[in-house]
């Protein structure tokens, strides 16, 4: 409530590690646990990530009301500001089925300090789009026209009945002045190569050397292919695993940029192994692992199941190596 929209200072999307934060809940009431939302955000910022994303799949966006979403984002913004991280941008998940509600989410995000909107394509009526890509392109362009904050395209076929945006579509959308990046959770790095090639603007002979904001931000959607995103000219990752091991993810990028590929590969291997537990169990295993190793995390909203003790034990073990690495950094 105390947030001042005038605080919307320009926060650039620089290369680096971005984290889609979980939403935390009271284990009994399932109400928002704003204290943990705040402290987790600060932990990540202190670890060195360059941006946070609220209301991604890990953030259980589909389980939150409009008002709760605003609380999560404003809590995150306030926590970052209070801890000296007012320069860190917040990307807010704003996907919805209609242009109207998507724009509403963008405006609500802006109103509480969100800097960018991460937008999934609508898919509920995809069978009625004709031709498909034309409707999708028009959707993103119309949203971008009306949104007070810039848009990042969220390509995650698994969340939208298999709808997979092609490099052609994403490249066409990148021409819109208010569409400024893409998160590729599809894992298709050939697509990433085409998108980077088409959007990078000026060529540089040194890969990833710059820390400046690129004209069009291209992020890998999982930590297990961080190096692959970078070698294709991508600018970093927006990856759920960074909730568990922000420093390890950052370190892969640092080693890579230094040209220390052998060490980067070794760390990438540990991260890819840990990510396998996160990929299989999603937010449920991520929270379980956090609870086991960090002492907080809790449960997701129903109907997401609460882990059995066998699952907790298995997932604790699955993250053991990665938490050990993280602690050492």
């Amino acid at each position: 409530a105390s947030f001042d929209p005038e605080d919307n200072m320009p926060r650039h999307l620089v290369p680096g590690v971005y984290v889609p934060t979980p939403c935390f809940f009271d284990p009994v009431t399932e109400d928002l646990d704003t204290a943990t939302i705040a402290s987790h955000a600060v932990r990540l910022a202190q670890a060195g990530v360059v941006g946070l994303a609220t209301q991604g799949s890990n953030g259980e966006a589909v389980h939150l009301t409009h008002s709760e979403r605003q609380t999560v984002t404003s809590t995150t913004r306030s926590a970052l500001n209070s801890a000296g991280f007012s320069h860190i941008p917040i990307i807010v998940g704003c996907g919805a089925q209609s242009v109207r509600e998507t724009v509403q989410y963008c405006r609500e995000a802006y109103a509480v300090g969100g800097d960018y909107a991460l937008v999934l394509p609508p898919a509920y009526y995809a069978g009625l789009f004709a031709p498909a890509s034309a409707s999708v392109i028009e959707f993103f362009q119309t949203v971008a026209d009306q949104s007070p904050i810039p848009i990042l395209i969220y390509n995650y076929p698994g969340a939208v009945s298999g709808m997979d945006l092609s490099s052609d579509v994403i490249i066409q959308l990148s021409a819109h002045p208010n569409i400024v990046g893409v998160k590729l959770t599809c894992g298709n790095t050939g697509k990433l190569n085409r998108i980077v090639a088409a959007t990078k603007g000026t060529k540089s002979s040194k890969p990833q050397s710059s820390s400046a904001a690129p004209p069009f931000l291209v992020l890998g959607g999982s930590a297990d292919f961080t190096m692959q995103s970078l070698i294709g000219g991508g600018h970093g990752i927006l990856a759920g695993l960074a909730n568990i091991s922000p420093k390890a993810c950052i370190e892969i990028m640092r080693l890579y940029r230094e040209g220390n590929f052998a060490e980067a590969q070794e760390m990438q291997e540990v991260v890819a192994r840990g990510d396998w537990t996160a990929i299989q169990g999603g937010i449920v295993s991520t929270k379980s692992g956090m609870q086991s190793w960090l002492g907080y995390g809790g449960y997701s909203r129903s109907p997401l199941p609460r882990p059995t003790s066998e699952q907790n034990a298995k997932w604790k073990e699955g993250f053991r190596e990665l938490f050990a690495l993280e602690k050492s950094l």
Copy 2:
């Protein structure tokens, strides 16, 4: 605002034709067009349908806010009451991803005169349910425990990433006192046969002879297999095509119950042909056909496309035979 929750009189779900009404919008602002919502509801009631459903797929539920959904349902309730159809129940689409929001929709539906809730299973995180059916069963049971109005299960795999509830799951759920029926949009009539057999309670030697409310209502989800729903012991249909041809759908049931199969089949053929246009073009072609033949219908909310003139012409032709039949009844 003028709706009195005390008006929640008991309205039973009797065998017959149910219609998932479209939501109508102003063509410029895309705001709700409550006048058309009201008049269309009355037209259907006058044609003899036994129930309406707001906020199904045809009702563009995913394009509406909580508040708009309440407006649609209360407008429909008031229109029915004013026109002398206060006995006709309204089923309200209430599916959401969380137990919490689903229950909220049920309560909001109840608050504005909704009689039953039609609930899709949650699917966004289906990969994290384990085992799948246990989470789904628990979801429905918890919602049914908390909802002020009874629940109908909505089995529509095409709307929930392919999640198809088995006869085992539906039969298990039918034991809950507050779960009172199912809409089978899957079109699997073998499943329908198993569900009816397990839930019909007392056997009757005459098919569909009764107009009393069955212990568990089983409805086919499309008009093109109306007779197939009936021959399996189903109690009717909840079908979008009945927006266009309520009387023809009702007439199939009447002829079938009279044992006049040959005429019922002839009418079923016309309905199945007309439904093909509605199935292919969904709510977009349904509204187009209504506009062409009834003078109202309008457009869906963006990003659903507005038909080209070629599409309007093709769909008008596709519904020609069916509208001629409807007019003759």
Copy 3:
């Protein structure tokens, strides 16, 4: 080898129950068990089915060589002839990815006494067909032009990466003089209604009264919606469950034709319950049930698993009611 191609007498496809027979194997060598193939075919003919189908999904066509397929069909033909069932037609599964191999299967089927070819659409390269339906239509027409025996279209999306032939496509194909029917394993009875309406030629005021071969044979692909196929004007079923309960399937049709719907429905319910075990476990549970209740059946070829004793017990129980009914008929 002793089969005489001149024996290809005309065998019409009359309304009734058709059975896709399993292929039986030696449990040690996995070689063909021709003795059981022969005796099972005769058992079904004695029960009153009007046709058999070799090399369907239940016949493990994809596990058989060209030469083995011919042995299965010729063994079946000889067994039927020797037992006095030379009038019963054999439909042979002939689907393949290329026009060339599909035609080869048709010719090989003809050479050993096959009467009709059941053909799946090719799907391996479906993404390269453009537009999809044009390539599929041309495939069937070219095969039909070159095949020495008439073609039945096999619409089974589950077997071909989801490719689901529409009523438009099937109706268009029905115009070819050598395409004479369709098996609808999709279970879409609205589609069945449209196909029957478009292909039945002359109208009859009495449903299914005739035992004459229809101009275009429309068969339901599962026993659990037998009545639904009939009420839509379909001519019967081609259903794996009839391997277990041919008489019960036939009895449903007889009762239906007599207008005895109540008893037909009761029997349909038992069949639909039994079919649920067959649908879930496919050929593996079907063979297990046959082994438990009939003393033969054996195993499928690897990699299809051999059932555990728990599975055998569960599936035996799942078929108990149906076998009791079958024995009583």
Copy 4:
């Protein structure tokens, strides 16, 4: 016929570019065009690729008889030998639905000089595998036990109804002495990272520096993510685009190994752009592009469509940049 099985000399799978060759046909009869099969193989060997694969998806394996497959492989082997490339291995696509036929393909491949077998998991009855991975693992292990030539796992979900082998399954299978590699057409480079980490045996501080055969060969399945395969420790690619631009693919690897990332990236971009045409049009566009730019290629077997003149023009243009690059190398 003149091939001598004794010629099966050991040919190791070294890091580099592998090419799944198309199968060429007479444009009128659709019979094998062995002259073009031979000359194309030699062209690729001269360009410097380290291995060929017959009977992949590009090789239209599903359109070929057992005997034709042997002709294609023996023709390729003879052509390579005659041109001085007897050291280049041939990988032969051997996937089939049964263990029995898969092993038969492996033996037939061996008999005509095939060195390795590329094996897809069986998927037709995947719904009956239980639990899925156990049946798949047993399938591969049994085939590997019985095959006279070593096995490479082919992970291509798009070809097998979406079945996607996890890193766990592939790592477990890599322990079999006769399973020696994997082709990852899934494009999942996180999975690649886990597989390489688990199978590389001895660590090397220099990436990809060695030209020796690795203990377990991990290949990317498309040229558009060549660098991503390498940075993860993969040993190269087995990619259809290398039919068009073998030298460009090889050059990416050379530049990468030299540490010349900027130039490697530039070339990767051109390759990724060209690959987009090949990915969209598959073997149809690949042959069209070869015909336009190399003067041979021809058509695929029916029902794969023959391109329209518009398609030929579009695809010629789509490959223009890549062919220009290739010619310059």
